[in-house]
Amino acid sequence: MDFDVAFLVSTFVKLVDAVPMTLALFAASVSLGALFALGITYCRVSGGLLLSTFARAYVFVFRGSPLLIQMFLIYYGLGQFPAVRHSLFWPVLRDPFSCAVLALALCTAGYQAEIMRGGLQAVPAREIEAGRAAGMSGLLLFRRIIAPIAIRQALPAYSTEVILMVKSTALASLVTVWEVTGTAQRLISQTYRTMEVFLVATLIYLLINFIIVRLMAFAEYRLSPHLRERPDPASGGGRQGEVHG
């Protein structure tokens, strides 16, 4: 295989053009998925039997079936029903980008809900009890004690899920969204240079994920001074003790 730098560079430029679409799919589906996940987690941990059964079933279905099939069902499947085509949702469900985001969001919501539940379960009961004993309850207790501890516990698993989602956006190419992988396939069908194009695409995904991994690691570092080394007594604890009321 010739090592054609000019071709690699031009491919890189073309694929970088598709990066905004990949990022848009990623950002929209992860945040929408997080909203769904909050609702599912709420049903699971504080709902009655009916709500928690719904939450379990949701997680089972969306975690247990292939994302690609979920996406096909939403994009190609739903349009077969006249009721859907005549409904309020048709402008959303006929649009490939919206369908891809919806499928990605519904799927990640199942995983994110389980990650959130794990984070909540890892909050020590005695720290919650100390909150109650100080007169906290409801939202105040959740906001000040439960959520901050749960988020810290959930963050490592959450970063993994976020990285998986960057890669999952590639599936949107199969419902005609021109993100990085879709664009790469189009280039291949024009040039037949599979190896080079996919290598460049891989490089782009690695770059995106490198940035995301660094960001998540930074967030984790900032949120967990209590898990790091004991501060140097001479410095009086350094600057980590800023009081954020």
């Binding site: 005695r126 004993a133 007169g135 309850s137 105040l140 000040r144 209590h226 501060p231 003790g241």
Partner: protein, 259 residues
Amino acid sequence: MADAPVPAISVRNIHKSFGQHEVLRGISLDAHDGDVISILGASGSGKSTFLRCINLLETPDEGEITVAGEAIAMKRNRAGSLVPADRKQVDRIRSELAMVFQSFNLWSHMTVLQNLIEGPVHVLKRPKAECVAEAEALLEKVGLAERRNYYPAHLSGGQQQRAAIARALAMQPKALLFDEPTSALDPELVGEVLKVMRSLAEEGRTMLVVTHEMAFARNVSDRVMFLHEGVVEADGAPEDIFTNSESERFRQFIGGFQA
């Protein structure tokens, strides 16, 4: 003369069962301002459960609790068990009765100083600058001023418990509830915590102390209550009860500690 002073804490006829097991079988107590009452008993005697019923961390099955003259409103739910009638009142009463736990229960994601101002700022809604100044004075008092920016995980057990006591004091409570505050500590760390508790007793704080520290019960408290199988088996001033209690069980209990 005016009427008899209103007790800081008044508890009437508390009953509590866990399943079939009746842990508390009718316990009453009046604690007046400045009283230091030690609650003793073998493990399983119900002493911690009794303390936790006072701020409703456990809901009693029967009984009445009054804090500074204000009765905690209770009602019966459909199953017939007693439940608090007004959650807001319970939250407020809890903020007036600070608790110190056996395993400290400091909030792990906050520094010592943040632990101290959390309740005053977010529950009592007091100005933060004022709370920080008070918290620093309290940390000075318990000997942790230079540790104020440490996280609980970076402190020894004794330091954590002193921080937890300072956190309780930061709420400016009407009374302090101590649930076996030294039981989770290494023996060499017990002294520093007892010293702080003794200084609180000397400044006239109202304290209910569930403990196994016989010397504290005997030398610091005004009154000793001995629970056995969910009832008050012996009760009185320490100088009387430790020298000539009528209760054979209590004599056996303290005998076990002297051995």
